[in-house]
């Protein structure tokens, strides 16, 4: 039994129907409970909850501060390669895109690490396209051994791997893995993932199970907002988290809510989410999962990010470059997507302090 079985048993249409039939009374019931279940979560992400946004924000703020204190963690992505053997119509790295391809050499990885370290970071998210033959386990092991010399907490956002491969990387110092489902709707998934290993929805759905079984410390989930109805996708994301949390109790979990951004040759969002709705979603996640970490990328604009610092997110990136080599040798044509908040790390740290929060750079021992 994996999440795939649970997913198969859960109907997209039934979930959508349940969600859109929620009323103000359902929302109020959820807001009065100290602990809420999945059904009450559906009410909070439903259109019926829109008038209760301020109440949700106040509760989300309180729960987040009590659990995480008056702090906000900072991390930064490190892109190692933009090679990809998948064809996904929303991503700049898609194999048919005629962009210059690059895999960082060991010397280049070192240069990037030094450039990032100088900005003060100690937590890093390593990103690659999905290219098993050229950027696979052998490359990851070499890269990890270099990166761990610089950073205490290292997360990967790369192609899904096998359980024993995750276990090997775990021993070599890998701490977290982000694997976003993109969408839990099988038809929509098939429409956007056209070629490559990523077309196999089961392989992707079961990846967090393999991560949990391999004992990875942090597992990141999320759907790409804009592909399908975000409310239903978020309901499935919450189910996924609930399932994982009960089985792999030693791991902690992180949620992301990336909105589709413009990229080379990419599609536009089919079903966008408004700023207000994004706030509603973040607050609903917090009310449902008091302990979950939530991360916010530079896809969002500065004013939105500054507002969200206080509302439930626990980790933010800053000054991100989405291209391999972007910190030591920037070249725009390699990027995965365009970022919006382009402020320097120090400016973001100042904005965090202005929100009454202490930026946290280091929260792990490199030897763990």
């Amino acid at each position: 039994m994996s999440f795939f079985d649970k997913w198969k048993q859960t109907s997209w249409d039934d979930t959508r129907l349940a969600l859109y039939s929620k009323t103000a009374a359902d929302v109020e019931k959820a807001l009065h409970a100290s602990v809420i279940d999945h059904d009450e979560f559906l009410a909070l992400i439903s259109p019926a909850a829109a008038p209760y946004l301020e109440t949700m924000a106040v509760k989300s703020h309180q729960l987040t501060r009590q659990r995480f204190g008056n702090t906000l963690s900072l991390f930064i992505p490190l892109y190692l390669s933009n090679l990809c053997a998948n064809e996904c119509d929303y991503c700049g790295f898609s194999m048919s895109n005629r962009i210059r391809r690059k895999i960082l050499s060991e010397t280049e990885i070192q240069a990037e690490c030094e450039a990032i370290k100088a900005k003060g970071y100690d937590t890093i998210l390593v990103v690659t396209g999905e290219h098993e033959t050229k950027v696979g386990m052998a490359y990851f092991r070499r890269a990890l051994s270099i990166i761990k010399q610089y950073f205490s907490y290292v997360m990967f956002e790369v192609q899904p791997l096998l359980e024993h491969q995750y276990a090997t990387l775990n021993k070599a110092g890998l701490n977290g893995v982000m694997v976003y489902q993109e969408t839990y709707n099988a038809l929509v998934y098939a429409r956007h993932h056209l070629r490559g290993q990523k077309t196999d929805i089961r392989w992707r759905l079961e990846t967090p199970d393999r991560l949990g079984a391999a004992g990875i410390d942090k597992i990141g989930l999320g759907s790409l907002i804009g592909l399908a109805d975000w409310r239903v996708d978020s309901a499935f994301t919450a189910l996924h988290l609930e399932y994982l949390r009960s089985r792999y109790w030693r791991s902690r979990y992180s949620l992301s809510f990336p909105r589709l951004r413009p990229c080379a040759g990419g599609v536009n969002p089919v079903m966008p989410i408004s700023d207000k709705e994004l706030v509603q979603l973040i607050c609903a996640y917090r009310l449902r999962f008091h302990e979950v970490e939530m991360s916010l990328s530079t896809r969002e604009q500065a004013a939105m990010r500054d507002g969200l610092f206080s509302l439930g997110v626990t980790a933010v990136s800053a000054e991100s470059s989405t291209q391999p080599g972007g910190y030591s040798q920037p070249a725009d044509e390699l990027e995965q997507f365009a970022i919006d908040d382009t402020r320097a790390t120090t400016e973001v740290a100042t904005a965090i302090r202005r929100a009454g929060l202490q930026p946290v750079w280091r929260d792990w021992l490199p030897v763990w």
Binding site: Q66, N70, D363
Partner: protein, 256 residues
Amino acid sequence: MLTIADHTFHSRLLAGSGKFSSAETMETALAASGSELVTLALKRINSDSAHDDILAPVKSLGLKLLPNTSGARNAEEAIFAARLAKEALGTRWLKLEIHPDPNYLLPDPIETLVAAEQLVKEGFTVLPYCGADPVLCQRLTDAGCAAVMPLGAPIGSNMGLKTRDFLRIIIEQARVPVIIDAGIGAPSHAAEAMEMGADAVLVNTAIATARDPAKMAQAFREAIICGRRAYSAGLGSAFTGQARATSPMTSFLDTL
């Protein structure tokens, strides 16, 4: 006066250094708390830097450091962190925390005992964070821990002394100081712990996330003094509300 191992403290409040909105807020709150022993997460410390947001203010106040192993998920990781703490901070005092469950951050009794035994052998002054389990506290004491730190409620929950009936047993059986850790959300909770005979309490979230941390720290300081004074004055037992039997239960003695 509170004596732990070979060290005597005037204050019975142990303060935490996490969750504050800034280094300045933490520094004023710690000063107002009157605490002399401050715990700090080793994983958060940048020991190369004299400008570390946590370490620098604590040092400038001249407080005794109690590094903790927060984040460690098993004995091996905790022991490693302890050795690192000794190197980096020059103290053998250690708050031992092992929580493999990242959800409620509850301490692992088995790993904690294993780590405590080893660290005591290595000469550490070990103060273990543990469940409110009287037998576990006895075992940790047997292992040579300098104090025990049972929880009042899940960490950060502000729920107060949910484990009070077990804390009473731990205090009754104690051979080392009992420091109530975790869950203390209000000065009244701290006062209750002291009235029960706890030797000290550790407070972090309730101070750090208060609207005015320095004022809250002061409130805890005073509550702990009051609670301890009441304990040493000898509290009367509470009226239980039971009715007296209509004919005396011992009247049969008169007929003997």
